[in-house]
């Protein structure tokens, strides 16, 4: 029995009083529903690395067989569970120091069904510049995705995950540690999976690091999307922003919980987070709970907010006065709402790619 498996089996079921598990209890998202069970027959989804235009990548490697750890502690339950079931299923994406290419990298993860799991570890070398698009697609029953990353000094990394899996459950855990003076843009685009439980964490423990977290999520029909985003500032002169937009249609449920933590010593930290939910039907529900823990008094700023509401009637009237029908104005406002975060995830080529990746999902929103 491995260390992770042993650790997992020693744990109690996490209580729903815990911020992380309040809306999606672990047993509801566990592959079998039996907390004490660690599935044995776990497959790895197909993974392919190219540039976004399909051309082969040079200079960056995606290697199997390398064991990777988690750069900092998150939830012991999911960390140990995912480490246990991805043992032997880990991939390491290595971007050498000073490597740069304007063309985005595309990591295609294709699911096939059954219980699948993958650990993807990203190492971005010092002064490297890369845009990494991770697309998850295919028929899915249960996918556990552990993404860990460490960015080198002065690196500039854009990391966007697009979830388009058909049905099923996605359990995603991210742990990203930002290097000194590195600049990270981290995007999540979700337009698939019946249930998603994501625990996305960032550690800014080197001075001068900067993080911009963006979400554009569509929940439709009876989908249940639960994203927990935790940003930890432990070093001085660190910066973070979170802007999370979710359009909730049908009878879907969307949950966004945030934890922004500024530890003692993180002087001149500057942080803010905003959750914004667009409610498109009376049956849809959205819960956003941003939380702050600030232990340092010398900060530039630290704020959080949440806004829930239907389509703005004044905006709708403005578009209708310009000839947009009722449905066209609603569609345009939903697309605009999601686009305002999508557009911040990268340059024009990334934006066009992301738009095409979510366009088909927009039509399902009003159902």
């Amino acid at each position: 029995m491995g260390v992770s498996e042993e650790l997992y089996l020693s744990l109690d079921e996490p209580p729903t009083s815990d911020h992380l598990w309040r809306y999606t209890p672990w047993k509801k998202i566990h592959p079998t529903g039996d907390f004490k069970e660690i599935p044995r027959d776990v497959k790895s989804p197909r993974v392919n690395l190219t540039y976004v235009d399909g051309e082969p990548v040079e200079g960056v490697t995606l290697e199997t067989g390398k064991e990777a750890g988690i750069p900092f502690e998150g939830s012991p339950t999911t960390d140990s569970f995912l480490m246990a079931i991805t043992k032997g299923n880990s991939l390491v994406l290595s971007i050498p120091g000073k490597w740069s290419n304007e063309k985005p990298l595309l990591i295609d993860i294709e699911t096939e069904g059954g219980v699948e799991a993958l650990h993807l570890h990203i190492l971005a070398g010092d002064l490297s510049e890369a845009t990494i698009l991770t697309r998850i697609s295919g028929p899915c029953e249960w996918l556990g995705l552990l993404r860990t990353a460490e960015t080198g000094k002065g690196s500039i990394v854009t990391d966007v995950v697009v979830s388009k899996i058909q049905g099923g459950s996605l359990v995603r855990v991210d742990a990203l540690r930002a290097g000194r003076d590195s600049t990270i843009t981290s995007g999540t685009v979700s337009a698939g999976s019946q249930k998603t439980k994501a625990d996305i964490r960032y550690l800014l423990d080197s001075p001068g690091s900067s993080l911009n977290v963006l979400g554009s999520l569509l929940s439709a029909e009876k989908m249940h999307l639960d994203h927990h985003i935790e940003i930890n500032h432990t070093a001085p002169h660190t910066y973070s922003r979170l802007e999370w937009h979710t359009a909730c249609g049908g009878a879907s449920t969307s949950v966004g919980t945030g934890m922004l933590r500024i530890e003692k010593g993180a002087k001149q930290a500057d942080a803010g987070q905003l959750f914004h939910n667009l409610l498109l039907s009376k049956k849809a529900s959205a819960n956003s709970i941003p939380e702050l823990e600030v232990e340092e008094s010398d900060v530039v700023g630290c704020g959080h907010g949440t806004a829930n509401g239907p389509v703005d009637e004044s905006q709708r009237f403005y578009l209708m006065a310009r000839g947009f029908s009722e449905q066209e104005s609603e569609d345009a406002l939903i697309a605009a709402f999601l686009n305002s975060t999508l557009t911040e995830m990268g340059g024009q080529d990334v934006h066009s790619w992301l738009i095409s990746a979510v366009e088909d999902a927009l039509v399902n929103l009003n159902n």
Binding site: Q315, M320, A321, R322, G323, F337
Partner: protein, 256 residues
């Protein structure tokens, strides 16, 4: 549609909002090529009239009629009115973060003037020419609709839309408010380019006569407490500038 029907005809229009009556019987006719101005103080009902013609759902028509080219507008949704040829330049244009100006303009032109008008070189040329007329740089096309625009930029963007959409009836609700002299000159140039020499009619709503020095109205109407208390030629605007509205308030009271 009658050949001689006015572009806009309001007859005995009574309008309220939230149970409060605001307009108390407005009669107005605007013929093709005519520019009318409605002047009045804050709260006189000017914006209510503009929003009602456009079909804002908050306003309740208590009685009366609104016709465009002799056809009843009352049962039509705002977008149907827009497609029939009604254009409202908003006093406070809404910002729509995430909706790019270029995409918005093309979509709007396609909805109102048809797909062909929003395609290819003719659209690009019309857009370029209109943008030059109202001094809007090309970089605006990639910005979001009214998002982060200054007050003057918003008003110029409204006039750009007027020029591209070529409506039968243009209602300009305090397009001059918040503009300096140069700003008024620029938007006036756009309004004249869109209306003068065309078959369109226009209704300019304003507090002040400044814009009317650049866009000469054929008729001026004074709205006080929801009623048109006086109508006249362009000289009435100058008279109001000199004397204010007080001298006309007794007319409004007498009719109460």
């Amino acid at each position: 549609m009658s050949e001689y029907a006015p572009v806009l005809s309001l007859e005995g229009l009574h309008v309220g909002i939230g149970g409060t009556s605001i307009l108390h019987g407005i009669d107005l006719e605007i013929k093709r090529g005519e520019i009318h101005a409605i002047m009045g103080r804050n709260g006189s009902g000017k914006t209510t009239a503009a929003s009602t013609i456009m079909g804002h759902p908050d306003y309740e028509i208590e009685s009366g009629s609104i016709e465009l080219d002799g056809a009843d507008l009352l049962e039509l949704e705002p977008w149907e009115r827009a497609r029939k040829g009604v254009f409202l330049s908003f006093q406070y244009p809404q910002s729509v973060p995430g909706l790019q100006v270029g995409h918005f303009l093309r979509k709007s032109v396609a909805a109102i003037r048809g797909d062909e008008a929003a395609k290819g070189a003719p659209f690009r040329n019309a857009l370029k020419s209109a943008m030059e007329e109202v001094s809007i740089p090309r970089s605006f096309l990639s910005r979001y609709v009214n998002d982060g625009f200054s007050g003057g930029e918003k008003k110029r963007f409204e006039i750009l839309q007027l020029m591209l959409l070529k409506p039968k009836l243009a209602i300009l609700d305090e397009t001059d408010s918040g503009l300096d002299i140069d700003g008024i000159r620029v938007v006036s140039r756009g309004i004249n380019a869109a209306i003068r020499g065309s078959e369109s009619g226009a209704l300019i709503i304003t507090h002040y006569s400044r814009i009317l020095e650049h866009v000469k109205p054929d008729y001026v109407h004074v709205l006080i407490k929801g009623k048109i208390v006086k109508s006249g030629g362009p000289e009435l605007a100058l008279e109001l500038e000199e004397k204010g509205y007080e001298w006309l308030e007794s007319d409004a009271k007498e009719d109460d």
